[in-house]
Symmetry: C2
Subunit: 144 residues, 2 copies
DNA sequence: TATAACTCCGGTTCTCCGGTCGGGTTTGCA
DNA sequence: TGCAAACCCGACCGGAGAACCGGAGTTATA
């Protein structure tokens, strides 16, 4: 039930991209990695996955980098974690050849997971960006 | 997000114990393991954990075995997985010394997890047993 | 009281995967 | 043409989950 650092990194990176959304300027891996202190070599792989899932797009060559493929409010957190965690399409067909006990358990578990996924589905990247800005505002006010 | 075999085994075992609840007869590890085909040596450890968490109690010696410590309807599925997965009390205090971005993400994640836990909290072992019986009934009717 | 049937406890092994690197290839801008 | 980036691929490491085992402690029962 723990948030894997994989997903956290991805979210952090997208947050960065999301706030720079609008001006066509792509951001480099290095920038993002440094700003959120994520191992850049690792971030590279994550962004590759996000690109294959159509969440970000990349621009090669000098002055290249990454941009969001869609606007922040049409990217749900579920999109992100599901693609990064790899439980989207084509998975474990032999996952449910169980006994009646097993299937009942699987069923309940499925319900619980569904509940969590619903929460993630309702939150968009835009929401995150906003919350983040709000929080920074508050933090600033309380700063001595 | 996947149900660990650990938790699945535990649930399976408790299901077994739950259905035999009432008559004071304890069940042996071997029996449970054989009936649900779980590696018995492994099940032993899981039951030990459940015992320490006060979910089952054990009777040593000849004719010994395991029994539920409370009745099935006062054991929630959350009790089980949280104790087996080990995220009950005393865990990672340094889990949130993050940046403002990080804390926002953690917050949302927490909400999602909470939703899942609520589902588990509402389901008792008794519910599982009932569902299981119902399912077996249905399966029997459809049996050629 | 002896014995068999159990739980209990601790280590050990094996496997798998998240996370990490290094090196090399393409692409595009200046 | 040179440089700066994304891109690809494969190997490595450590730790956690999963499973195995030997032996010691406990108890009902004959």
């Amino acid at each position: 039930m723990e948030l894997s650092s994989k997903s956290e990194y991805a979210l952090l990176a997208l947050l960065e991209l999301g706030r720079g959304f609008g001006q066509g300027e792509p951001m480099q891996i290095r920038q993002i990695a440094a700003h959120q202190n994520i191992p850049d070599r690792y971030l590279e792989q994550l962004l590759a996955t996000l690109r294959r899932a159509g969440i970000v797009r990349s621009q090669r060559g000098a002055k290249g980098g990454y941009l969001l493929a869609r606007s922040p409010w049409q990217i749900t957190l579920y999109d992100v974690v599901s693609c990064i965690e790899g439980f989207d399409s084509s998975k474990e067909p032999p996952a449910t050849p169980q006994t009646s006990e097993g299937s009942v358990i699987a069923e309940v578990w499925q319900t619980a997971r569904q509940a969590a996924e619903d929460v993630l589905q309702k939150q968009t990247l835009q929401d995150l960006v906003d919350k983040c800005k709000a929080k920074q505002q508050v933090d600033l006010m309380y700063y001595i």
